[in-house]
């Protein structure tokens, strides 16, 4: 295994991008070429990543590059390899699904355009994760941001798309500005844009290091979607084509996490305050993310808020890791960073699954609103089954994968290594709240969508999508179960990645993680037995009922004899107790027309929860700034004569000043 395999993988992806436009007039051929390039690229790339995670070493790939200060240096260490796994797995699953999705949404999407930017995005992420030169890294980062922008805008004439694209691109460039400064300062200190040189020239504890950390936190945090700079996610994710939303939510935002972890791996010493910062960000992103998700009716917007919640859980793991590094406790550092990395992988699996499911529901219903659906479990059995598995996984329920990484976070927080630090205990309580609220949110969304009776004709006529869209979901659901039941190899790989961040030998990390491997094995076994025991009970019940009378009847209406589908509990009413309890944070806008009189004719209820940062702070602030600056606008009216006059006036002013 050499680096040439990685180059080959990128070449496959590049070929996919290159072929997409020339072949666009041959739909069948272009589809097969696309699938071939995608499979070739992702399988090759995945084999490289797995080789490194199994303990293999790869040489560094170097090539001259005409860009000033730039050099193409690519390397795969365990940290890069761990991020390559979700890039390639999600890239393949969502890409294959995407072919079915493009086929099904013919007329709305331009296949060549979506394919081109999809390949470009995947290749750029691979380059960003493997780059060891800051110029190359920033170039890949920018290509990634732009390719994602074009994917977000793929359905442009539709309402809301251009606004979402604009918010996205502004956020990305605000972030990238911070990164330019960060790498410029680090590069100037090192005298080279090479990562190895930068690492050697990192400043010791002090003001410079704090400033660099702040820049990294801002620049990468926007990408990751930390509260309060999260607001582009719920705008951009819903409007993109669903397989692109899956990639955005499952891997693109994780690039922000990768950047932060790579930055931490540069730092010779990590102050304890960074750990506390991450714990605070994690708890606030987690709780606010899930609370705002609870208030949404748009399925993809809800999932986008859940990405913020999960990024919060990842940040909790990173906080633990930093505390471990600061206290010179490699075991705690390993558990923290391994938990963060494992949750990166887990979230990418179940979030892709959920977004792919959401895409199928969206196509079947023609709407992303959960309130109008219902009864899809009967009509779209497979898509619904896989989505429920994803929902259980994202709620952190055993025997699925989400539980394993959340358990690792808990065991780091409460396992005693921290000596009962207040921050750790409060974070654990926050994590418990997040988990319980997530369960409320997903029973709400998927209950309204898939259970009960259909509330409209679209839901009544819905059908499962084609095989090309179902198989990726099936495999992702299976992967969630496998990681949950047999977590050992995944935790060990994550520990290797953690060793790279903490700069200790992999053997140290593996021995640190040895303590949690036995509990994890038991957790997997108990989770599997929960399923097994449920199966036995099911068989027992079937056996008992075989000898008895089993009747089918309408649902018990508590005495009311002619119920209709519209009388079912809605998602909004389901979330109401929690929404009311957290009203102070959510501040929903409600339009309510109450029924009145003895024979009420009209009644309506509409609720909307604006985003905390974007709708409550940024947009009003920018509107106010615009109002103030309106005075200045008077001098700008587009007439050339006046502009020439300004130039002349300026020249005269300069002349007078120089006299």
């Amino acid at each position: 295994m050499t680096m040439s395999f990685l180059i080959l993988a990128v070449a496959f992806l590049a070929a996919g991008a290159l072929f997409s436009f020339p072949l666009s007039s041959f739909p069948r051929l272009s589809r097969w070429v696309c699938l071939a390039c995608l499979t070739g690229g992702c399988v090759t790339g995945l084999s490289v990543a797995l080789f490194v995670l199994a303990g293999g070493e790869l040489s560094v790939f170097r090539m001259a590059w005409a860009v000033p200060l730039g050099e193409i240096i690519l390397a795969v260490d365990p940290l890069s390899a761990f991020f390559l796994v979700p890039i390639f797995v999600v890239g393949l699953a969502a890409g294959v699904y995407g072919e079915g999705y493009l086929e099904a949404s013919r007329g709305h999407l331009w296949p060549a355009y979506v394919r081109f930017f999809y390949f470009l995005l995947t290749a750029a992420m691979v380059a960003a994760v493997c780059a060891r030169n800051a110029v190359l890294f920033l170039a890949a980062w920018e290509v990634m941001a732009l390719a994602a922008f074009f994917l977000v805008c793929a359905t442009d004439p539709q309402p809301g798309v251009s606004r979402a694209g604009l918010i996205y691109i502004v956020c990305m460039h605000a972030g990238i500005l911070c990164l330019f400064v960060l790498f410029a300062v680090m590069g100037a200190r090192a005298g080279s844009m090479d990562f190895t040189a930068m690492k050697a020239a990192m400043p010791g504890p002090g003001r410079t290091l704090t400033a660099l950390f702040a820049l990294a936190l801002a620049g990468f945090g926007v990408k990751a979607g930390f509260m309060p700079v999260h607001f582009w996610l719920p705008e951009a994710h819903p409007v993109a084509p669903s397989h692109a939303s899956a990639v955005l939510s499952a891997v693109v935002i994780k690039m922000g996490i990768y950047g932060l972890l790579r930055f931490l791996s540069f730092c010779p010493s990590v102050p304890e305050s960074w750990g506390l910062v991450f714990l605070a960000i994690g708890a606030s992103s987690g709780i606010l993310g899930v609370l705002f998700a609870l208030a949404q009716h748009d399925l993809k917007r809800l999932l986008a808020y859940h990405s913020i919640e999960n990024i919060g859980i990842i940040a909790l793991g990173m906080g633990l890791g930093c505390l471990g590094l600061a206290r010179g406790n490699p075991a705690l550092a390993t558990i923290g960073f391994a938990a963060a990395l494992l949750h990166v992988l887990n979230h990418s699996l179940f979030k892709t699954l959920l977004f792919l499911g959401a895409g199928s529901f969206d196509q079947a219903l023609g709407s992303r609103d959960v309130e109008g659906a219902g009864g899809l479990l009967r009509r779209m059995p497979w898509a619904s089954l896989f989505s429920w598995m994803g929902a259980a996984a994202i709620c952190g329920l055993p025997p699925f994968n989400g539980f394993v990484s959340e358990w690792l976070v808990y065991s780091g927080l409460l396992g005693g290594a921290l000596g009962g630090a207040r921050s750790a205990m409060l974070s654990a309580a926050a994590l418990a709240l997040i988990g319980a609220l997530a369960a409320a949110c997903f029973t709400k969304a998927y209950g309204a969508l898939t259970l009960g009776e259909p509330r409209g004709t679209a839901a009544r006529d819905a059908k499962d999508p084609g095989e090309l869209m179902l198989w990726p979901m099936a495999l992702l659901a299976l992967a969630c179960l496998v990681v949950g039941i047999y977590p050992r190899p995944f935790v060990m790989s994550a520990a290797r990645g953690a060793a790279t961040i903490g700069r200790f030998p992999p053997e140290a990390a593996l021995s640190a993680i040895a303590d949690v491997l036995r509990p994890l094995a038991l957790i997997g076994a108990l989770g599997a037995s929960a399923l097994g025991l449920a199966g036995l009970l099911w068989l027992w019940r079937e056996g008992l009922l075989k000898m008895r009378e089993v009747a089918a009847a309408p649902t018990w209406g508590c005495g009311f004899t002619s119920p209709t589908a519209r009388m079912q509990y809605t998602a909004s009413s389901y979330a109401a107790p929690l929404a009311r309890a957290f009203e102070g944070v959510l501040r929903p806008e409600v339009r309510f027309e109450a029924p009145s009189g003895y024979w009420p004719a009209r009644a309506s209820f509409h609720s909307h929860t604006p985003d905390l940062t974007l709708d409550r702070a940024l947009l009003p602030a920018s509107a106010r700034i615009e109002k103030v600056l309106a005075v200045v606008r008077r001098v700008q009216h587009g007439r050339l004569q006046y502009y020439l006059l300004y130039a002349f006036g300026f020249l005269v002013a300069v002349l007078l000043w120089k006299l």
Binding site: W407, A429, A439, T443, L451, L526, L531, A534, R541, Y569
Partner: protein
Amino acid sequence: MSAILLAVCAHLAALLIAPPLLLGIIAKTKAAFGGRKGPPVLQLYHDLFKLMGKGAVYSRTTTWMFRLGPVLSLSAVLLAGLLVPLVRASPFSFTGDAILFAYLLGLSRFVTAAAALDAGSSFEGMGASREVAFASFAEPALILAVAALARAKGGFTLSVMFSGGIWSSFGAGLVLIVGSLFLVLLAENSRIPVDDPATHLELTMIHEVMVLDHSGPDLAFILYGSSVKLLLWSSLLVRLILPVAPGAGGWVIWGLGVAAVAVIVGVVESSMARLRLLRVPQLLVAAVCAAAFAVMLTLK
């Protein structure tokens, strides 16, 4: 080897056989307060036996989710029972099992709520909504109590954390934890003042209304599962308060303690009314605060 086997058998036997008795004791206590004779203590065993022999009625709206709810819920609760120490330390305990315990109960709640929504009735939706909402407040209380105990006991397994004997060193904290966990017990097991299992009006129910459409063996699984859950919580509380040592004496103390918890639940139910639904979160936030104060007491 045989000692371990015996311990496992005793654990399983207590876990599987004892639970329905607790609900009988509660019912008897309530009857005594009401001046009635009340159903026999073993009534639930008869009910379960009868339900297992009955047929079932399924709503035409329901799917496999409705049938999955009772079995997976019971299975999750039983596996959670393997982690909870009864008289001896649990044979399956490991570091961090408290988290698995909490999340297995979460799994049970998740599938029960999903099964309730599957029937497509407003009433069952209402019950599910309330159940998940109240659980969101109960969960942090449990984890904070676990955090405080893990710190006070220096271990992160249920068997170590819930092993009594720290009244002298950590008395005040223990009072707070016991109070907090008792409120969580009432909420998790749908007892007054959070929920009224004996109410006759669907609008005011929480847990009972979620399972309105289940019948026959399904209903038996659900009833049995909730009695197991009550036993697990009672056992945790008893072990926190009383010194339960392995051996025959331990079994007596444990048995009396668990029965006493059931009596106390019965007394609470007889002496107060169910709270208004809007007040329930406040009660549970009080439980969270009590546990948080206990955490603070562990910080020296």
